[in-house]
Amino acid sequence: MASDSLELLQGTLDVLVLRALVWGEMHGYAVSRWIRQRTDGVIEIEDAPLYKALHRLERAGSVEASWGLSENNRRARFYKLTAAGRRTLREEERAWRRYAEAVFKVLEPA
C-alpha cells in the first residue's frame, strides 16, 4: 500500500512538472514556485523529489535541459518540453481527468 502511494505521488509530480513547462523554458526554482502557487499550498511538495523528477524526465527524453542566464543574471539550468514530453503530458492529463471524474461520480450524492 505504501509503495503504491509513493508511485502515485511520483507520477503526479511528473505531470505537474510537465504542466509547468507548457508555457516555455523554466529553471528548477521557477518550476518549484509555479507549482506552489498553483496548488495554493494545498500540497506540500519538497524540492528534492521535484529535482529528481526533472532529471528523470530529462533521461526519459520528455524534457531537454540547457544552461542559460536567469532573470538576475546567474547561470541556471533551464528545462524545455520536447515533442515527446508534450505527448506524455496530454496522455497523463487525460488519464488524470478520467480518474478524477470517476472518483467524483462515486462521491456525488445520488
Binding site: 528548477g28 526554482y29 518549484s32 524540492d47 529535482y51 532529471h55 528523470r56 547561470r75
Partner: protein, 883 residues
C-alpha cells in the same frame, strides 16, 4: 537532430557533479533570497530553504546517477547517428565518383585476393600441423652412411629399438607397388607401403573402419593382412565398410583387408595401401649393406630433437665399431616429420608469399596516392564543412569511414578473387608438391583478409585525414578552385611512386630471374630424345614370375608383339626411367685393380635394359658398341657404361674390355660383365642435377620384375595406349598397365615445381607492374591538371607543346629512375634469398636487370605520355582564365 551540428561537448563525471551542485546552489540561493524578502534573517532564510528542499545529499546522489546515464545514452545515440550519417554520406560520395571507387576497390581486391589465396596455401603446408597425435614429437630419421645420405638397413631397427632412450618407439617403412586384381575389372597397380606393425601407433591415428596393425603382424609367418586408403576404398570398393575382413588378391597372393584409413589422415600422404614390413630371419642376420628403408620415431617425453640426434649418432658410432665390415661410419639426423615433408617447399612458398606481400604493398601505395589526390581535390569541401562547425576529429572520422567502406569493398572483391584464384592455383600446382592440395579458404584466412582490409582502411584513411588543413581561412579563400596542394603532399606522392616503382622492380627482377632459370632448365639437354615415345609400367607379380626365366620369357614375348603394332618403330624394356625419382645404386669392383675394403667400394646407378632401349630413348653410342640380343644367360656377360662412369672410374684408361663385378648376387651368380661400349650421359635425377655414372646390363642377363616399357613411334604416342594394353592382355590378362604416359611427361613433371613457382611470381610481377604504372599515371596526370595555369603561362610565353610534353614525360621518368635505383638495390639484397631457387643464372644477372630496366622505362614513358599529351594541348587562354 540539432545536437549533431551544435552540440555541447561531452561531459565528464566531474563536470556532471559540478553541474548538479551549481543547479542546486542556484535553487537554494533563490529560495533563501525570496524568504529574506519576506523579512527573514539571512540565517533563518537559509535554514528554511534547506528544510523545504528535503534530503539534499540523497537528491545530489540521485541526480548524479541519472545524469550520468543520460550522458551515456546521448553519446551513444550521437555516435550511432554520426556513423549512419557518415555511411550515407560516404556512399553518396563514392557513388558520385564511380571511376575512383572502382579503381580503388579493384586495386585492393587484387592485393587482398592474391594474399588470401597464397596465404591459404602457406597455411595448409607450413603452418597447419600434420593431422597426427602430437605431430611435433614425430621425427623422420636421415641415415648418413659412410659419409653420404642413405637409407636404413633391416637389422638397424632392432639396434635402435633396444639401445635408444631418447626415442620412445621406432618404425621402418619402404615403398612397395602391388597389383590389385579384382573380378571383372582391369588389374591395377597400387602405391603400397610396407610398414612396421607399430606404424600407426607412432603416428597416433586409428582406422576409419576396422583396425590398424597389431604387434606381431610384421613377424615372419603371420597372416597376410592389408589396410586400404580412403581413396582406394572409395574407388575400387564402392566405399563399402564390409570390405573389412574380405580377402583380396594382391600380386597373386590372398590378403585379408583389416582396415580402411580415414581421408587426409594417413602417412605417407600418397600411399594407397599399407602392408606389414616383414623381415626374413636371414635378412636380419647379416644384410647391413642392403639399405632401402626409411625410419620414423616418436620422441620420448621432454627430449629435444638435438638431444635425440646426439644419442642416435652415438649409437650409430658404436654400431660402426661393432660391425667394421659394414660401416665406416653411421650417423642419424632426426628431423620433425613436418619439416621433413615440406622442407623443399618452405623457401619457394615464402618467396611467393613475399611476392604477394609486395603486390599488396603496391596496391596500398596506389590507393594511398589516389586518396591523397582526392583529398586535395576536396580540401575546399572540407574547409566549408569545418567552417560550418564540423570538428577536425569529426571530419577525420568521415574520411576514415569512407576508406573503410572502400577497403571492405576491396576485401569482398578480394575474397571472390581468392576463391577463383585458389581453383586456378590448385589446378596449376604439380601433384608432386605435398599438402598443397589441402589448401582451403578457412576461417583463419578469412580472418586475415578482414584484418588486412581493416588495417589498410585505417592506415589509408588516416593519411588524407592527417593532411586536413587546420587553417580554415586559407582554404576558404582559395575558393572553388581548391587549394594548391602543398609542396609537402606533392613530395609525399612522389615518394609513394618511387616506393611503388622500387617494389615493382624488385618483383620483376625476382620473376625475371626465376623465368631465366626456368628457360635454362628447359634448354638443358636431358641426354635422350623425349618426343614420340610412349611409356608404361608393368609389375610382374612374384607368384607367377618368380624365376628369371619367367621374367625373361615375358619380355621376349612382349617386345615383338608391341613392335608389330602399326605406328611403333621400336619397343624396349628397362628397369628404370630417367627423371622418375627411382633408381638402383650398387657397389662394384673393377677386375684387375687392387681389392678395396668392402665399405669403400665405388657405387653406380644400375639399369637393366633390352638392346633396343638406347635407340628407343635416343641415347647415342660414344665408343665401342652396344650389347646385342645375343647376350643371353650362358653367353659371356656384356655391359655398357655412361660417359660419366668413364670419367669417374677410368679417368686415364680405356674402359673397353674391362670387367666389372657388381654387388648383386643372384643364386650364387654375381652380376656384372665386360664393358663393350660407352653411351652418352642422361639426366637421371633432375635437369638441374649432375648426370650420375650409369651402368647398363642386358635385360636377358639381369631380369627384373618392375618393368618400364618404351615405344618409339611415328604416330602421336598417346594413340597407341589402347593397342599396347590389348597386346599386353593377350600375354597375361592379370597384369595391370600403369602410368601410361609419353616420355616427355617425365621431363615436364620433373620441372613442375619450378614451372609453378616461376608462373606465380611472374603473374604477381605483372600485376605489380600494372599497378605501379597506374600509380605513376595518376600522379603525373594529377600534377598536369594542377599545373594547368603554369603550363598555360609557359605556352603564352612561347614554349611549344612538344617542349611541355617532354617536360612532363621527363618528370615521370625522373620519378621512375629514383624508384629504379632503390629497386635495384633492394632486388640485389632480396635476390640472395631466392638464390637457392635459381639455376644457371646469377642472382645479379645483368641481362635480367637490364631487361627489367628497359621494361620499366618504357612503361613509365607510356604512363607519362598520356598526361603529357594533355599538357601539350592546354589552351593558354582557358588555362589562365580558369584561375
Amino acid at each position: 537532430m540539432s545536437r549533431h551540428f551544435f552540440r555541447f561537448p561531452w561531459r565528464t563525471r566531474r563536470q556532471i557533479g559540478a553541474d548538479v551542485d551549481e543547479e542546486l546552489r542556484f535553487h537554494l540561493d533563490m529560495r533563501a533570497a525570496e524568504l529574506r524578502s519576506l523579512g527573514m534573517s539571512p540565517e533563518a532564510a537559509r535554514a528554511e530553504a534547506m528544510r523545504q528542499f528535503g534530503d539534499l545529499d540523497d537528491a545530489r546522489r540521485y541526480l548524479n546517477a541519472v545524469d550520468r546515464a543520460t550522458e551515456v545514452a546521448h553519446q551513444r545515440t550521437e555516435l550511432m547517428g554520426d556513423l549512419r550519417q557518415d555511411l550515407v554520406y560516404a556512399l553518396r560520395k563514392l557513388g558520385a565518383a564511380p571511376a575512383f571507387t572502382i579503381t580503388v576497390a579493384l586495386t585492393l581486391a587484387l592485393g587482398i585476393g592474391a594474399n588470401t589465396a597464397i596465404f591459404s596455401v602457406v597455411h595448409a603446408v607450413l603452418l597447419q600441423p600434420l593431422p597426427f597425435f602430437q605431430p611435433d614429437r614425430i621425427v623422420r630419421m636421415g641415415f648418413v652412411y659412410n659419409g653420404a645420405p642413405d637409407a636404413g638397413a633391416p637389422p638397424e631397427l632392432n639396434d635402435f629399438r633396444t639401445r635408444s632412450h631418447t626415442v620412445r618407439s621406432f618404425a621402418m617403412y619402404s615403398g612397395a607397388s602391388v597389383n590389385l586384381v579384382r573380378e571383372g575389372a582391369d588389374p591395377e597397380l597400387l602405391r603400397g607401403v610396407r610398414v612396421s606393425a607399430n606404424w600407426f601407433r607412432i603416428l597416433g591415428i586409428t582406422a576409419a573402419h576396422g583396425r590398424t596393425f597389431v604387434d606381431g603382424e610384421d613377424l615372419e609367418g603371420a597372416a597376410r593382412v592389408a589396410i586400404l586408403s580412403d581413396a582406394v576404398w572409395r574407388r575400387d570398393f564402392n566405399a563399402d565398410p564390409a570390405v573389412v575382413g574380405r580377402v583380396i588378391r594382391l600380386s597373386g597372393e590372398q590378403v585379408t583387408v583389416i582396415g580402411v584409413m580415414p581421408r587426409d589422415r594417413a602417412y605417407p600422404l600418397t600411399a594407397e595401401l599399407w602392408l606389414p614390413l616383414v623381415f626374413k630371419t636371414s635378412e636380419l642376420a647379416q644384410s647391413r649393406g642392403s639399405r632401402y628403408l626409411s625410419m620414423i620415431g616418436r620422441l620420448a617425453p621432454g627430449v629435444s630433437v638435438a638431444q635425440a640426434e646426439r644419442e642416435l649418432s652415438q649409437i650409430g658410432a658404436s654400431l660402426a665399431l661393432e660391425y667394421p665390415r659394414f660401416y665406416r661410419s653411421l650417423a642419424i639426423q632426426p628431423q620433425p616429420l613436418q619439416t621433413a615433408i615440406v622442407s623443399d617447399l618452405e623457401r619457394p612458398l615464402l618467396v611467393i608469399m613475399g611476392a604477394v606481400a609486395f603486390v599488396l604493398l603496391i596496391a596500398c601505395a596506389n590507393v594511398a596516392n589516389l586518396l591523397l589526390v582526392r583529398a586535395s581535390a576536396r580540401e575546399s569541401e572540407m574547409a566549408v564543412r569545418a567552417a560550418l562547425g564540423a570538428g577536425r576529429s569529426r571530419l577525420a572520422r568521415q574520411l576514415i569511414t569512407e576508406t573503410m567502406l572502400l577497403s571492405l569493398l576491396g576485401a569482398l572483391g578480394g575474397l571472390l578473387l581468392a576463391r577463383w584464384g585458389m581453383t586456378a592455383l590448385l589446378r596449376l600446382a604439380p601433384t608432386s608438391l605435398p599438402l598443397v592440395g589441402a589448401a582451403r579458404l578457412d576461417p583463419m584466412t578469412l580472418g586475415l583478409t578482414i584484418v588486412v582490409a581493416v588495417v589498410t582502411g585505417l592506415v589509408f584513411g588516416l593519411i588524407p585525414a592527417a593532411q586536413l588543413g587546420t587553417d580554415v581561412a586559407t582554404a576558404l579563400r582559395a575558393g572553388s578552385r581548391g587549394v594548391r596542394s602543398s609542396h609537402l603532399t606533392t613530395r609525399t606522392r612522389g615518394g609513394i611512386v618511387v616506393a611503388e616503382v622500387a617494389l615493382a622492380v624488385t618483383l620483376l627482377v625476382g620473376a625475371g630471374l626465376l623465368l631465366r632459370s626456368f628457360e635454362r632448365l628447359l634448354s638443358v639437354d636431358p641426354g635422350f630424345r623425349p618426343d614420340s615415345v610412349l611409356t608404361f609400367r608393368v609389375s610382374l607379380p612374384a607368384r607367377s614370375y618368380e624365376s628369371d626365366t619367367a621374367q625373361r620369357m615375358f619380355v621376349d614375348a612382349l617386345t615383338p608383339r608391341l613392335e608389330a603394332l602399326p605406328g611403333v618403330r621400336q619397343a624396349a624394356v628397362a628397369s628404370v626411367l630417367p627423371l622418375d625419382g627411382s633408381d638402383l645404386t650398387l657397389s662394384f669392383a673393377i677386375r684387375g685393380r687392387p681389392p678395396v675394403p668392402p665399405n669403400e667400394e665405388p657405387a653406380t646407378q644400375v639399369l637393366s635394359a633390352t638392346p633396343g632401349f638406347f635407340s628407343a630413348m635416343g641415347i647415342p653410342v660414344v665408343r665401342g658398341r652396344l650389347y646385342t640380343r645375343e647376350a643371353q644367360p650362358g653367353t659371356p656377360k656384356e655391359i655398357v657404361v655412361s660417359r660419366a662412369f668413364v670419367q669417374h672410374f677410368f679417368p686415364n684408361e680405356d674402359p673397353l674390355g674391362r670387367y666389372v663385378d657388381l654387388g648383386w648376387y643372384v643364386d650364387g651368380d654375381r652380376r656384372g660383365g665386360t664393358i663393350v661400349g660407352v653411351v652418352g650421359d642422361v639426366k637421371q635425377v633432375g635437369l638441374d642435377q649432375e648426370t650420375p655414372p650409369m651402368l647398363y646390363l642386358p635385360y636377358a642377363q639381369a631380369p627384373q620384375s618392375n618393368l618400364r616399357v618404351l615405344l618409339r613411334t611415328h604416330v602421336p604416342p598417346s594413340s597407341l595406349t589402347k593397342p599396347a594394353q590389348a597386346a599386353l592382355r593377350d600375354i597375361d590378362g592379370e597384369l595391370p598397365v600403369f602410368s601410361i604416359r609419353p616420355l616427355g611427361d617425365y621431363v615436364t613433371a620433373s620441372i613442375g615445381p619450378q614451372r609453378f613457382y616461376a608462373t606465380l611470381v611472374t603473374v604477381f610481377a605483372i600485376v605489380a607492374l600494372a599497378l605501379a604504372a597506374i600509380g605513376l599515371y595518376g600522379v603525373i596526370a594529377y600534377a598536369v591538371s594542377q599545373r594547368a595555369h603554369e603550363l598555360g603561362v609557359r605556352l603564352a610565353l612561347g614554349a611549344t607543346g612538344r617542349r611541355l610534353a617532354a617536360m612532363v614525360i621527363g618528370e615521370g621518368l625522373s620519378l621512375t629512375l629514383g624508384g629504379l635505383v632503390v629497386g635495384i638495390v633492394v632486388a640485389a639484397a632480396v635476390s640472395r634469398v631466392i638464390g637457392s631457387l635459381l639455376f644457371g643464372v646469377s642472382a645479379l644477372d645483368p641481362i635480367t636487370i637490364g631487361a627489367v630496366l628497359m621494361v620499366l622505362l618504357v612503361v613509365a614513358a607510356l604512363a607519362s605520355y598520356v598526361p603529357a599529351r594533355r599538357a601539350a594541348r592546354v589552351d593558354p587562354l582557358v588555362a589562365m582564365r580558369g584561375d
